[in-house]
Symmetry: C2
Subunit: 206 residues, 2 copies
């Protein structure tokens, strides 16, 4: 089943990229064009970060580079390998844990990685691609296989690709299809926007 | 000096919201319309998160609520108070450190807060507002003043408002103007996009 262009049922108008972004479990097993991949990484590059430290880096494996892709895939937990093997690109993300300029610990490096990954995802959605981010990564495997230096820590993985719009074949594909096409839900603003005291809903969203 | 609509000198085309977003140090001391604020929070609401846990929450203080705004401002480190006092809205961000469904630790809660804050920022930039995020927060003050429950941790602050486009008056305003209008720079993709091994630049960005 083809997803609509704007699958997220928003309650208030937001930018198209946010309305369009979702996390597929079924990718079409095809490559991603270099110019699109570069635009996604460029979007990430312009993320805000504490002291403009830009603590993130990306270890990228394109599916056409079969050995590199297999290595990256092997760093995911098995449940993620099962569907991410069809992605066009896999990225293993890392952060520097200390500020480059001062050497002091960067308490928000992981936060800032999230900002950059978000910009990457929204750019992808705008180009007809979709991103699925994963926390289920074998961090030790990443450290070892990519020889991460001291002060650099692996964090997440990112699958980029085209959603598979062919009808699912076989039990596993059907299960993935159901998983990705379940209701797209979020908590209400009244459950997450507070004022005065934690848990006290702000009047303007009540 | 008025900022151009798209101040970020990108090397490759990216979505307008990303080209337009920057972090002001000089805000116009005016309120933000509720409907715009709600759209920013709605954008954040649709962020991706691990297991769709949505670990973030927002403690919001609008400048027209002077007591609430002063309380929020008082939770920032002094260097941030000096400029953030002119913002239209201050938000203190929190995360739940464990997954709501399982009670297990959420390793990427801070990362997912970053995703949500990013979507908020890009929506703001699209509405003519700008966001400036801060790590410089008195976390203990937030815990105490807003009575955060166990399992909820304060993280960052977010200023939202209209950039001040009037000429700066006085030394401090001139200093802030210089700070916010300095060169908008980022590391090159070749310094952050690797393949095969950490530090080994990927061919397609070399």
């Amino acid at each position: 089943m083809t997803q609509p262009d704007f699958p997220n049922p928003v309650d208030h108008p937001v930018i198209d990229a946010i309305r369009a972004r979702w996390s597929p479990y079924r990718y079409a097993a095809r490559t991603v064009e270099d110019d699109k991949l570069i635009r996604c990484l460029e979007a990430a590059r312009w993320a805000a970060s504490s002291f403009n430290d830009q603590p993130w880096s990306w270890i990228v494996a394109k599916r056409e580079d079969t050995a590199a892709f297999a290595t990256a895939l092997g760093c995911l937990v098995e449940a993620n390998q099962a569907w991410a093997q069809d992605a066009g690109v896999l990225i293993l993300t890392c952060i520097r844990t200390d500020f480059a300029k001062t050497g002091k610990p960067n308490r928000v490096a992981l936060h800032d990685l999230g900002i950059a990954a978000c910009q990457l995802s929204l750019q992808a959605a705008t180009l007809g691609l979709q991103v699925h981010q994963m926390a289920g990564v074998d961090l030790d495997a990443v450290r070892r296989r990519y020889e991460l230096p001291t002060g650099v820590e692996p964090q997440t993985a990112i699958a980029i690709g085209y959603a598979n719009e062919e009808p699912p074949r076989g039990d596993f594909q059907i299960e993935l299809e159901q998983r990705q096409n379940g209701p797209r839900t979020r908590k209400s603003l009244s459950d997450q926007v507070f004022t005065g005291k934690f848990g006290s809903t702000a009047g303007f969203v009540a």
